[in-house]
Assembly symmetry: C2
Homo-oligomer: 258 residues x 2
Amino acid sequence: MVDQDCQPGPGCTLREFRPFATLEAETLGALESECRVKRFRKGETLIREGDALSHVGCVRQGILKMQKSLSDGRQHIVGLLVDSDVFGQEFGALRQFEIEAATDAEICFFERDLFDGLMENSPELERAMLMNILRELDRARDWMIILSCQKVTGRLAGFFMILLTQFAEVDHVLQSRDGQLEIRIPISRTDLAHLLGSRTESISRALHALEDEGLLQILRPDLVRILDMEALAAEAGDAGMAGRVRLADIRPSEQPRS
Amino acid sequence: MVDQDCQPGPGCTLREFRPFATLEAETLGALESECRVKRFRKGETLIREGDALSHVGCVRQGILKMQKSLSDGRQHIVGLLVDSDVFGQEFGALRQFEIEAATDAEICFFERDLFDGLMENSPELERAMLMNILRELDRARDWMIILSCQKVTGRLAGFFMILLTQFAEVDHVLQSRDGQLEIRIPISRTDLAHLLGSRTESISRALHALEDEGLLQILRPDLVRILDMEALAAEAGDAGMAGRVRLADIRPSEQPRS
DNA sequence: CGATGGTTTGAAGAGGCTCAAATCAAGTGG
DNA sequence: CCACTTGATTTGAGCCTCTTCAAACCATCG
Protein backbone atom coordinates (compact mmCIF):
# COMPACT_ATOMS: atom_id res chain seq x y z
CA MET A 1 0.00 0.00 0.00
CA VAL A 2 2.68 2.39 1.05
CA ASP A 3 5.41 2.22 -1.52
CA GLN A 4 7.76 4.00 -3.80
CA ASP A 5 5.31 6.43 -5.28
CA CYS A 6 5.15 8.40 -2.06
CA GLN A 7 6.54 11.85 -2.58
CA PRO A 8 9.17 13.26 -0.26
CA GLY A 9 7.28 15.97 1.54
CA PRO A 10 8.15 19.42 0.36
CA GLY A 11 4.95 20.80 1.89
CA CYS A 12 5.25 18.61 4.91
CA THR A 13 5.45 21.07 7.76
CA LEU A 14 4.54 18.99 10.75
CA ARG A 15 4.64 21.68 13.38
CA GLU A 16 1.03 22.62 12.82
CA PHE A 17 -0.19 19.12 13.64
CA ARG A 18 -1.19 18.64 17.23
CA PRO A 19 0.89 15.56 18.03
CA PHE A 20 4.05 17.24 16.77
CA ALA A 21 3.44 20.75 18.02
CA THR A 22 5.49 20.35 21.17
CA LEU A 23 8.42 18.39 19.75
CA GLU A 24 11.95 19.65 20.11
CA ALA A 25 13.45 20.93 16.86
CA GLU A 26 15.80 18.03 16.35
CA THR A 27 13.17 15.31 16.39
CA LEU A 28 10.80 17.42 14.35
CA GLY A 29 13.43 18.01 11.72
CA ALA A 30 14.22 14.32 11.43
CA LEU A 31 10.55 13.51 10.99
CA GLU A 32 9.94 16.24 8.45
CA SER A 33 12.89 15.29 6.28
CA GLU A 34 11.87 11.64 6.23
CA CYS A 35 8.15 11.92 5.75
CA ARG A 36 6.34 10.90 2.58
CA VAL A 37 3.02 12.37 1.64
CA LYS A 38 0.51 10.25 -0.20
CA ARG A 39 -3.02 10.93 -1.36
CA PHE A 40 -5.85 8.45 -1.37
CA ARG A 41 -9.22 8.59 -3.02
CA LYS A 42 -12.41 7.78 -1.19
CA GLY A 43 -12.73 4.02 -0.85
CA GLU A 44 -9.06 3.17 -1.27
CA THR A 45 -7.56 0.79 1.26
CA LEU A 46 -4.49 2.01 3.16
CA ILE A 47 -3.89 -0.98 5.37
CA ARG A 48 -5.40 -4.41 5.01
CA GLU A 49 -6.18 -6.52 8.04
CA GLY A 50 -3.04 -8.41 8.88
CA ASP A 51 -0.67 -6.29 6.80
CA ALA A 52 2.72 -5.82 8.33
CA LEU A 53 2.85 -2.29 9.66
CA SER A 54 5.95 -1.02 7.93
CA HIS A 55 4.91 2.61 8.26
CA VAL A 56 3.38 4.97 10.76
CA GLY A 57 0.84 7.39 9.31
CA CYS A 58 -0.51 10.77 10.26
CA VAL A 59 -3.69 12.19 8.76
CA ARG A 60 -3.13 15.58 7.12
CA GLN A 61 -6.54 15.84 5.56
CA GLY A 62 -9.66 13.78 5.13
CA ILE A 63 -11.23 11.02 7.17
CA LEU A 64 -10.16 7.39 7.46
CA LYS A 65 -12.22 4.57 8.85
CA MET A 66 -10.87 1.69 10.91
CA GLN A 67 -13.02 -1.32 10.25
CA LYS A 68 -13.35 -4.99 10.95
CA SER A 69 -14.86 -7.44 8.49
CA LEU A 70 -16.88 -10.18 10.11
CA SER A 71 -17.11 -13.72 8.84
CA ASP A 72 -20.70 -13.31 7.70
CA GLY A 73 -19.76 -10.45 5.40
CA ARG A 74 -20.87 -7.71 7.75
CA GLN A 75 -18.48 -4.86 8.36
CA HIS A 76 -18.22 -2.70 11.39
CA ILE A 77 -16.42 0.57 11.81
CA VAL A 78 -14.66 0.86 15.15
CA GLY A 79 -13.33 4.35 14.75
CA LEU A 80 -12.66 7.29 12.50
CA LEU A 81 -9.26 8.88 12.03
CA VAL A 82 -9.18 12.61 11.31
CA ASP A 83 -6.84 15.58 11.23
CA SER A 84 -3.65 14.95 13.21
CA ASP A 85 -4.52 11.41 14.19
CA VAL A 86 -1.62 8.98 14.10
CA PHE A 87 -2.07 5.31 13.27
CA GLY A 88 0.04 2.23 12.70
CA GLN A 89 2.16 2.70 15.81
CA GLU A 90 0.32 -0.10 17.65
CA PHE A 91 3.00 -1.00 20.15
CA GLY A 92 1.81 -4.30 21.46
CA ALA A 93 -0.47 -4.59 18.43
CA LEU A 94 -2.93 -7.19 19.55
CA ARG A 95 -5.90 -6.49 17.36
CA GLN A 96 -5.71 -5.48 13.74
CA PHE A 97 -8.09 -3.46 11.64
CA GLU A 98 -8.44 -2.54 8.04
CA ILE A 99 -7.93 1.15 7.33
CA GLU A 100 -9.73 2.70 4.40
CA ALA A 101 -10.29 6.24 3.18
CA ALA A 102 -13.83 7.38 3.98
CA THR A 103 -13.19 10.58 2.02
CA ASP A 104 -10.37 11.70 -0.23
CA ALA A 105 -7.42 11.97 2.12
CA GLU A 106 -3.84 13.08 2.40
CA ILE A 107 -1.58 11.06 4.64
CA CYS A 108 1.93 11.59 5.88
CA PHE A 109 3.95 8.39 6.31
CA PHE A 110 7.12 7.60 8.25
CA GLU A 111 9.19 4.47 8.18
CA ARG A 112 8.28 2.51 11.24
CA ASP A 113 11.90 1.83 12.20
CA LEU A 114 12.78 5.49 11.99
CA PHE A 115 9.74 6.45 14.00
CA ASP A 116 10.40 3.90 16.72
CA GLY A 117 14.01 5.01 16.89
CA LEU A 118 13.05 8.63 17.34
CA MET A 119 10.57 7.68 20.00
CA GLU A 120 13.28 5.92 21.99
CA ASN A 121 15.20 9.17 22.23
CA SER A 122 12.36 11.63 22.53
CA PRO A 123 10.16 11.53 25.61
CA GLU A 124 8.10 14.30 24.01
CA LEU A 125 7.29 12.14 21.02
CA GLU A 126 6.50 9.22 23.24
CA ARG A 127 4.21 11.37 25.31
CA ALA A 128 2.49 12.66 22.18
CA MET A 129 1.80 9.09 21.12
CA LEU A 130 0.41 8.32 24.54
CA MET A 131 -1.97 11.26 24.17
CA ASN A 132 -2.95 9.98 20.77
CA ILE A 133 -3.88 6.64 22.24
CA LEU A 134 -5.81 8.19 25.10
CA ARG A 135 -7.80 10.21 22.60
CA GLU A 136 -8.60 7.04 20.72
CA LEU A 137 -9.71 5.34 23.90
CA ASP A 138 -11.98 8.24 24.74
CA ARG A 139 -13.50 8.15 21.31
CA ALA A 140 -13.98 4.40 21.36
CA ARG A 141 -16.00 4.82 24.54
CA ASP A 142 -18.02 7.60 22.97
CA TRP A 143 -18.93 5.26 20.12
CA MET A 144 -19.84 2.56 22.62
CA ILE A 145 -22.17 4.90 24.41
CA ILE A 146 -24.04 5.96 21.33
CA LEU A 147 -24.28 2.33 20.25
CA SER A 148 -26.11 1.66 23.50
CA CYS A 149 -29.15 3.57 22.28
CA GLN A 150 -31.63 1.01 21.05
CA LYS A 151 -33.42 3.35 18.69
CA VAL A 152 -31.60 4.33 15.52
CA THR A 153 -32.76 7.95 15.85
CA GLY A 154 -30.97 8.09 19.18
CA ARG A 155 -27.76 6.64 17.75
CA LEU A 156 -27.88 9.07 14.86
CA ALA A 157 -28.48 11.98 17.21
CA GLY A 158 -25.51 10.77 19.23
CA PHE A 159 -23.39 10.71 16.10
CA PHE A 160 -24.27 14.33 15.43
CA MET A 161 -23.45 15.27 19.01
CA ILE A 162 -20.04 13.67 18.63
CA LEU A 163 -19.43 15.62 15.45
CA LEU A 164 -20.51 18.78 17.24
CA THR A 165 -18.28 18.22 20.24
CA GLN A 166 -15.19 16.73 18.64
CA PHE A 167 -15.04 17.63 14.98
CA ALA A 168 -14.91 21.40 15.24
CA GLU A 169 -11.51 21.59 13.63
CA VAL A 170 -11.95 18.82 11.13
CA ASP A 171 -12.13 19.63 7.45
CA HIS A 172 -15.34 21.55 6.87
CA VAL A 173 -17.62 19.30 8.87
CA LEU A 174 -19.06 22.11 10.98
CA GLN A 175 -20.04 25.52 9.68
CA SER A 176 -22.17 28.28 11.05
CA ARG A 177 -24.41 30.24 8.73
CA ASP A 178 -26.72 33.02 9.85
CA GLY A 179 -25.85 32.05 13.39
CA GLN A 180 -27.16 28.55 12.83
CA LEU A 181 -25.11 25.40 12.94
CA GLU A 182 -24.71 23.25 9.87
CA ILE A 183 -23.14 19.80 9.72
CA ARG A 184 -21.64 18.35 6.60
CA ILE A 185 -22.04 14.62 7.12
CA PRO A 186 -18.60 13.48 6.09
CA ILE A 187 -19.26 9.81 5.39
CA SER A 188 -21.68 7.87 3.26
CA ARG A 189 -24.91 6.30 4.48
CA THR A 190 -23.32 2.90 4.15
CA ASP A 191 -20.44 3.86 6.42
CA LEU A 192 -22.84 5.51 8.81
CA ALA A 193 -24.80 2.28 8.97
CA HIS A 194 -21.64 0.27 9.64
CA LEU A 195 -20.68 2.74 12.33
CA LEU A 196 -24.06 2.81 14.06
CA GLY A 197 -24.78 -0.87 13.73
CA SER A 198 -27.73 -0.47 11.43
CA ARG A 199 -28.70 -0.36 7.75
CA THR A 200 -28.62 2.43 5.24
CA GLU A 201 -32.39 2.37 4.91
CA SER A 202 -32.86 2.72 8.65
CA ILE A 203 -30.34 5.56 8.76
CA SER A 204 -32.21 7.38 6.06
CA ARG A 205 -35.54 6.91 7.79
CA ALA A 206 -34.09 8.01 11.12
CA LEU A 207 -32.64 11.16 9.61
CA HIS A 208 -35.98 12.07 8.13
CA ALA A 209 -37.69 11.24 11.42
CA LEU A 210 -35.41 13.75 13.16
CA GLU A 211 -36.39 16.28 10.53
CA ASP A 212 -40.10 15.56 11.03
CA GLU A 213 -39.68 16.15 14.75
CA GLY A 214 -38.14 19.51 13.97
CA LEU A 215 -34.71 18.80 15.48
CA LEU A 216 -32.92 19.52 12.22
CA GLN A 217 -33.41 20.33 8.59
CA ILE A 218 -32.01 18.34 5.68
CA LEU A 219 -30.51 20.79 3.23
CA ARG A 220 -28.80 18.16 1.10
CA PRO A 221 -28.37 14.45 1.71
CA ASP A 222 -25.00 15.25 3.23
CA LEU A 223 -25.81 18.60 4.82
CA VAL A 224 -28.10 19.27 7.76
CA ARG A 225 -28.91 22.36 9.77
CA ILE A 226 -29.33 21.93 13.51
CA LEU A 227 -32.56 23.50 14.72
CA ASP A 228 -32.86 22.23 18.28
CA MET A 229 -29.61 21.16 19.85
CA GLU A 230 -31.11 20.55 23.29
CA ALA A 231 -33.64 18.13 21.87
CA LEU A 232 -30.96 16.47 19.79
CA ALA A 233 -28.81 15.93 22.87
CA ALA A 234 -31.81 14.59 24.76
CA GLU A 235 -32.61 12.18 21.93
CA ALA A 236 -29.04 10.89 22.17
CA GLY A 237 -29.37 10.35 25.91
CA ASP A 238 -27.30 13.44 26.51
CA ALA A 239 -24.70 12.48 29.10
CA GLY A 240 -23.69 16.10 29.24
CA MET A 241 -22.69 16.52 25.63
CA ALA A 242 -24.77 19.58 24.75
CA GLY A 243 -22.73 21.74 27.08
CA ARG A 244 -19.52 20.78 25.38
CA VAL A 245 -20.40 22.24 22.02
CA ARG A 246 -18.15 25.24 21.46
CA LEU A 247 -19.76 27.48 18.95
CA ALA A 248 -16.80 29.81 19.09
CA ASP A 249 -14.57 27.19 17.51
CA ILE A 250 -16.74 26.83 14.46
CA ARG A 251 -15.85 28.94 11.47
CA PRO A 252 -18.49 30.74 9.46
CA SER A 253 -19.17 29.16 6.12
CA GLU A 254 -16.92 30.43 3.34
CA GLN A 255 -18.40 28.63 0.42
CA PRO A 256 -21.67 29.66 -1.19
CA ARG A 257 -24.51 27.27 -0.51
CA SER A 258 -24.36 26.38 -4.24
CA MET B 1 -14.69 6.46 48.70
CA VAL B 2 -11.07 5.76 49.36
CA ASP B 3 -10.31 6.87 52.86
CA GLN B 4 -8.75 6.08 56.17
CA ASP B 5 -10.19 2.64 56.65
CA CYS B 6 -7.90 1.26 53.99
CA GLN B 7 -5.47 -1.17 55.53
CA PRO B 8 -1.76 -0.92 54.89
CA GLY B 9 -1.09 -3.97 52.81
CA PRO B 10 0.59 -6.73 54.66
CA GLY B 11 -0.50 -9.23 52.01
CA CYS B 12 0.13 -6.78 49.23
CA THR B 13 2.72 -8.53 47.13
CA LEU B 14 2.51 -6.76 43.83
CA ARG B 15 5.05 -8.78 41.91
CA GLU B 16 2.47 -11.33 40.86
CA PHE B 17 0.34 -8.72 39.11
CA ARG B 18 1.04 -8.33 35.42
CA PRO B 19 1.56 -4.57 35.33
CA PHE B 20 4.12 -4.69 38.10
CA ALA B 21 5.87 -7.92 37.19
CA THR B 22 8.69 -6.23 35.33
CA LEU B 23 9.34 -3.34 37.70
CA GLU B 24 12.76 -2.77 39.18
CA ALA B 25 12.97 -3.60 42.88
CA GLU B 26 13.15 0.00 44.07
CA THR B 27 9.92 1.15 42.46
CA LEU B 28 8.15 -2.04 43.40
CA GLY B 29 9.20 -1.64 47.01
CA ALA B 30 7.95 1.92 47.16
CA LEU B 31 4.60 0.88 45.74
CA GLU B 32 4.24 -2.12 48.02
CA SER B 33 4.97 -0.19 51.15
CA GLU B 34 2.50 2.53 50.29
CA CYS B 35 -0.38 0.51 48.97
CA ARG B 36 -3.70 0.18 50.77
CA VAL B 37 -5.98 -2.77 50.25
CA LYS B 38 -9.72 -2.30 50.42
CA ARG B 39 -12.60 -4.67 49.88
CA PHE B 40 -15.88 -3.79 48.27
CA ARG B 41 -19.10 -5.67 48.16
CA LYS B 42 -21.04 -6.23 44.97
CA GLY B 43 -22.86 -3.04 44.04
CA GLU B 44 -20.68 -0.63 46.02
CA THR B 45 -19.48 2.46 44.20
CA LEU B 46 -15.73 3.05 44.11
CA ILE B 47 -15.62 6.23 42.09
CA ARG B 48 -18.51 8.48 41.30
CA GLU B 49 -18.68 10.32 38.00
CA GLY B 50 -16.80 13.56 38.50
CA ASP B 51 -15.00 12.54 41.67
CA ALA B 52 -11.51 13.89 41.98
CA LEU B 53 -9.14 11.02 41.33
CA SER B 54 -7.02 11.12 44.44
CA HIS B 55 -5.95 7.51 44.12
CA VAL B 56 -4.86 5.02 41.51
CA GLY B 57 -6.32 1.55 41.89
CA CYS B 58 -5.34 -1.94 40.86
CA VAL B 59 -7.77 -4.84 40.88
CA ARG B 60 -6.56 -7.76 43.00
CA GLN B 61 -9.73 -9.76 42.79
CA GLY B 62 -13.23 -9.42 41.48
CA ILE B 63 -14.74 -7.48 38.60
CA LEU B 64 -15.49 -3.77 38.40
CA LYS B 65 -17.69 -2.08 35.87
CA MET B 66 -17.06 1.32 34.32
CA GLN B 67 -20.38 2.87 33.52
CA LYS B 68 -22.01 6.01 32.30
CA SER B 69 -25.43 7.17 33.45
CA LEU B 70 -27.47 8.84 30.75
CA SER B 71 -29.87 11.68 31.32
CA ASP B 72 -32.91 9.51 30.68
CA GLY B 73 -31.97 7.17 33.48
CA ARG B 74 -30.43 4.54 31.26
CA GLN B 75 -27.03 3.22 32.19
CA HIS B 76 -24.41 1.81 29.93
CA ILE B 77 -21.32 -0.17 30.81
CA VAL B 78 -18.29 0.80 28.74
CA GLY B 79 -15.87 -1.68 30.16
CA LEU B 80 -15.04 -4.23 32.81
CA LEU B 81 -11.98 -4.11 35.01
CA VAL B 82 -10.55 -7.42 36.14
CA ASP B 83 -7.43 -8.98 37.67
CA SER B 84 -4.40 -6.71 37.35
CA ASP B 85 -6.23 -3.87 35.64
CA VAL B 86 -5.20 -0.41 36.76
CA PHE B 87 -7.62 2.49 36.83
CA GLY B 88 -7.72 6.10 37.91
CA GLN B 89 -4.45 7.05 36.21
CA GLU B 90 -6.27 8.87 33.40
CA PHE B 91 -3.53 11.25 32.37
CA GLY B 92 -5.35 13.72 30.23
CA ALA B 93 -8.61 12.54 31.82
CA LEU B 94 -11.16 13.83 29.37
CA ARG B 95 -14.11 11.59 29.97
CA GLN B 96 -15.19 10.34 33.35
CA PHE B 97 -17.01 7.21 34.35
CA GLU B 98 -18.53 5.79 37.45
CA ILE B 99 -16.76 2.72 38.77
CA GLU B 100 -18.77 0.17 40.68
CA ALA B 101 -18.12 -3.35 41.92
CA ALA B 102 -19.89 -5.91 39.74
CA THR B 103 -18.83 -8.65 42.14
CA ASP B 104 -17.24 -8.57 45.56
CA ALA B 105 -13.81 -7.18 44.92
CA GLU B 106 -10.45 -6.48 46.48
CA ILE B 107 -8.65 -3.38 45.33
CA CYS B 108 -5.18 -2.07 45.93
CA PHE B 109 -4.92 1.73 46.10
CA PHE B 110 -1.99 4.13 45.78
CA GLU B 111 -1.89 7.84 46.44
CA ARG B 112 -2.07 9.52 43.09
CA ASP B 113 0.82 11.90 43.85
CA LEU B 114 3.06 9.06 44.90
CA PHE B 115 2.15 7.06 41.84
CA ASP B 116 2.75 9.93 39.45
CA GLY B 117 6.07 10.66 41.13
CA LEU B 118 7.22 7.08 40.74
CA MET B 119 6.17 7.08 37.13
CA GLU B 120 8.33 10.13 36.44
CA ASN B 121 11.38 8.18 37.53
CA SER B 122 10.52 4.75 36.25
CA PRO B 123 10.25 4.18 32.53
CA GLU B 124 9.23 0.61 33.30
CA LEU B 125 6.21 1.79 35.28
CA GLU B 126 5.32 4.24 32.57
CA ARG B 127 5.56 1.52 29.99
CA ALA B 128 3.39 -0.75 32.10
CA MET B 129 0.73 1.94 32.24
CA LEU B 130 0.92 2.36 28.49
CA MET B 131 0.31 -1.35 28.09
CA ASN B 132 -2.61 -1.08 30.45
CA ILE B 133 -4.18 1.60 28.30
CA LEU B 134 -3.56 -0.32 25.09
CA ARG B 135 -5.30 -3.30 26.62
CA GLU B 136 -8.25 -1.11 27.48
CA LEU B 137 -8.39 0.26 23.96
CA ASP B 138 -8.36 -3.24 22.54
CA ARG B 139 -11.14 -4.29 24.83
CA ALA B 140 -13.22 -1.21 24.07
CA ARG B 141 -13.05 -2.13 20.39
CA ASP B 142 -14.03 -5.68 21.17
CA TRP B 143 -17.12 -4.40 22.94
CA MET B 144 -17.89 -2.15 19.99
CA ILE B 145 -17.73 -5.07 17.63
CA ILE B 146 -20.08 -7.26 19.59
CA LEU B 147 -22.45 -4.32 19.97
CA SER B 148 -22.62 -4.17 16.19
CA CYS B 149 -24.58 -7.42 16.06
CA GLN B 150 -28.20 -6.49 15.64
CA LYS B 151 -29.56 -9.67 17.17
CA VAL B 152 -29.24 -10.09 20.90
CA THR B 153 -28.26 -13.73 20.54
CA GLY B 154 -25.29 -12.60 18.48
CA ARG B 155 -24.22 -10.03 21.05
CA LEU B 156 -24.54 -12.57 23.84
CA ALA B 157 -22.53 -15.11 21.87
CA GLY B 158 -19.92 -12.41 21.34
CA PHE B 159 -19.82 -11.76 25.07
CA PHE B 160 -19.12 -15.42 25.69
CA MET B 161 -16.39 -15.41 23.06
CA ILE B 162 -14.76 -12.47 24.80
CA LEU B 163 -14.88 -14.29 28.11
CA LEU B 164 -13.39 -17.35 26.45
CA THR B 165 -10.56 -15.46 24.80
CA GLN B 166 -9.69 -12.92 27.46
CA PHE B 167 -10.88 -14.08 30.83
CA ALA B 168 -8.93 -17.29 31.14
CA GLU B 169 -7.04 -16.09 34.16
CA VAL B 170 -9.83 -14.17 35.83
CA ASP B 171 -11.30 -15.43 39.03
CA HIS B 172 -13.09 -18.66 38.28
CA VAL B 173 -14.90 -17.51 35.17
CA LEU B 174 -13.70 -20.37 33.01
CA GLN B 175 -13.47 -23.97 34.12
CA SER B 176 -13.15 -27.24 32.29
CA ARG B 177 -15.01 -30.29 33.52
CA ASP B 178 -14.92 -33.65 31.80
CA GLY B 179 -13.05 -31.95 28.98
CA GLN B 180 -15.91 -29.56 28.41
CA LEU B 181 -15.78 -25.84 28.89
CA GLU B 182 -17.92 -24.14 31.48
CA ILE B 183 -18.41 -20.41 31.90
CA ARG B 184 -19.42 -18.83 35.16
CA ILE B 185 -21.22 -15.69 34.04
CA PRO B 186 -19.66 -13.20 36.43
CA ILE B 187 -22.18 -10.38 36.24
CA SER B 188 -25.91 -10.05 36.74
CA ARG B 189 -28.48 -10.04 33.95
CA THR B 190 -29.02 -6.35 34.57
CA ASP B 191 -25.34 -5.59 34.05
CA LEU B 192 -25.26 -7.86 31.04
CA ALA B 193 -28.15 -5.91 29.57
CA HIS B 194 -26.39 -2.60 30.24
CA LEU B 195 -23.27 -3.98 28.62
CA LEU B 196 -24.96 -5.41 25.54
CA GLY B 197 -27.37 -2.56 25.03
CA SER B 198 -30.47 -4.57 25.71
CA ARG B 199 -32.87 -5.57 28.50
CA THR B 200 -32.69 -8.32 31.08
CA GLU B 201 -35.69 -10.05 29.58
CA SER B 202 -34.12 -10.13 26.14
CA ILE B 203 -30.87 -11.42 27.58
CA SER B 204 -32.70 -14.22 29.29
CA ARG B 205 -34.60 -15.13 26.15
CA ALA B 206 -31.43 -14.99 24.05
CA LEU B 207 -29.60 -17.29 26.45
CA HIS B 208 -32.38 -19.82 26.29
CA ALA B 209 -32.49 -19.47 22.51
CA LEU B 210 -28.79 -20.41 22.38
CA GLU B 211 -29.59 -23.42 24.53
CA ASP B 212 -32.47 -24.45 22.27
CA GLU B 213 -30.16 -24.30 19.28
CA GLY B 214 -27.77 -26.61 21.11
CA LEU B 215 -24.84 -24.21 21.33
CA LEU B 216 -24.70 -24.41 25.08
CA GLN B 217 -26.39 -25.81 28.14
CA ILE B 218 -27.63 -23.76 31.07
CA LEU B 219 -26.52 -25.52 34.24
CA ARG B 220 -27.47 -22.68 36.56
CA PRO B 221 -28.58 -19.15 35.77
CA ASP B 222 -24.96 -18.09 36.12
CA LEU B 223 -23.26 -21.21 34.78
CA VAL B 224 -23.29 -22.50 31.21
CA ARG B 225 -21.51 -25.34 29.45
CA ILE B 226 -20.28 -24.68 25.95
CA LEU B 227 -21.39 -27.41 23.58
CA ASP B 228 -20.53 -26.00 20.18
CA MET B 229 -17.87 -23.33 20.18
CA GLU B 230 -17.65 -23.09 16.39
CA ALA B 231 -21.34 -22.32 16.13
CA LEU B 232 -21.09 -19.87 19.00
CA ALA B 233 -18.29 -18.00 17.26
CA ALA B 234 -20.26 -17.98 14.03
CA GLU B 235 -23.31 -16.61 15.82
CA ALA B 236 -21.14 -13.79 17.13
CA GLY B 237 -19.90 -12.99 13.63
CA ASP B 238 -16.62 -14.67 14.48
CA ALA B 239 -13.89 -12.31 13.27
CA GLY B 240 -11.38 -14.97 14.13
CA MET B 241 -12.13 -15.31 17.79
CA ALA B 242 -12.67 -19.06 17.96
CA GLY B 243 -9.04 -19.70 17.16
CA ARG B 244 -7.90 -17.60 20.05
CA VAL B 245 -9.47 -19.71 22.76
CA ARG B 246 -6.67 -21.37 24.66
CA LEU B 247 -8.00 -24.40 26.41
CA ALA B 248 -4.64 -25.03 27.96
CA ASP B 249 -4.93 -21.91 30.06
CA ILE B 250 -8.14 -23.01 31.67
CA ARG B 251 -7.92 -24.80 34.93
CA PRO B 252 -10.01 -27.86 35.70
CA SER B 253 -12.84 -27.20 38.10
CA GLU B 254 -11.85 -27.61 41.72
CA GLN B 255 -15.18 -27.06 43.37
CA PRO B 256 -17.91 -29.68 43.39
CA ARG B 257 -20.85 -28.83 41.18
CA SER B 258 -22.93 -28.31 44.34
C1' DC C 1 -42.93 -18.50 56.79
C1' DG C 2 -43.04 -14.22 54.39
C1' DA C 3 -39.98 -10.87 52.42
C1' DT C 4 -36.66 -9.82 48.96
C1' DG C 5 -33.87 -9.64 44.73
C1' DG C 6 -32.91 -11.82 40.71
C1' DT C 7 -34.49 -14.57 36.80
C1' DT C 8 -37.89 -16.32 33.74
C1' DT C 9 -42.20 -16.41 31.01
C1' DG C 10 -46.22 -14.36 28.53
C1' DA C 11 -48.73 -11.26 25.41
C1' DA C 12 -49.08 -7.02 22.74
C1' DG C 13 -47.10 -3.44 20.20
C1' DA C 14 -43.34 -0.61 18.27
C1' DG C 15 -39.39 -0.49 15.67
C1' DG C 16 -35.95 -2.22 12.49
C1' DC C 17 -34.58 -5.47 8.92
C1' DT C 18 -35.26 -7.41 4.34
C1' DC C 19 -36.22 -7.20 -0.30
C1' DA C 20 -37.74 -4.54 -4.02
C1' DA C 21 -38.47 -0.53 -6.54
C1' DA C 22 -38.38 4.47 -7.26
C1' DT C 23 -35.72 8.63 -7.22
C1' DC C 24 -31.88 11.53 -7.75
C1' DA C 25 -27.13 13.33 -9.06
C1' DA C 26 -23.19 12.97 -11.55
C1' DG C 27 -20.60 11.23 -15.30
C1' DT C 28 -19.84 9.24 -19.94
C1' DG C 29 -20.15 8.67 -24.69
C1' DG C 30 -22.50 9.50 -28.73
C1' DC D 1 -26.96 18.51 -25.66
C1' DC D 2 -29.19 14.27 -24.73
C1' DA D 3 -29.63 9.43 -23.62
C1' DC D 4 -27.61 6.08 -20.72
C1' DT D 5 -24.98 4.27 -17.05
C1' DT D 6 -23.61 4.29 -12.40
C1' DG D 7 -23.84 4.87 -7.54
C1' DA D 8 -26.05 6.68 -3.68
C1' DT D 9 -30.26 7.84 -1.26
C1' DT D 10 -35.01 7.39 -0.42
C1' DT D 11 -39.57 5.10 -0.14
C1' DG D 12 -42.74 1.17 0.42
C1' DA D 13 -44.66 -3.29 2.33
C1' DG D 14 -44.29 -7.46 5.09
C1' DC D 15 -42.05 -9.94 8.55
C1' DC D 16 -39.30 -10.70 12.49
C1' DT D 17 -37.17 -9.26 16.71
C1' DC D 18 -36.97 -6.64 20.63
C1' DT D 19 -39.07 -3.78 24.08
C1' DT D 20 -42.64 -3.05 27.36
C1' DC D 21 -45.47 -4.09 31.04
C1' DA D 22 -47.12 -7.73 33.95
C1' DA D 23 -47.00 -11.68 36.39
C1' DA D 24 -44.90 -16.00 37.80
C1' DC D 25 -41.06 -18.33 39.60
C1' DC D 26 -37.07 -19.33 42.53
C1' DA D 27 -33.52 -19.05 45.89
C1' DT D 28 -31.80 -16.81 49.90
C1' DC D 29 -32.17 -14.72 54.22
C1' DG D 30 -34.33 -12.94 58.24
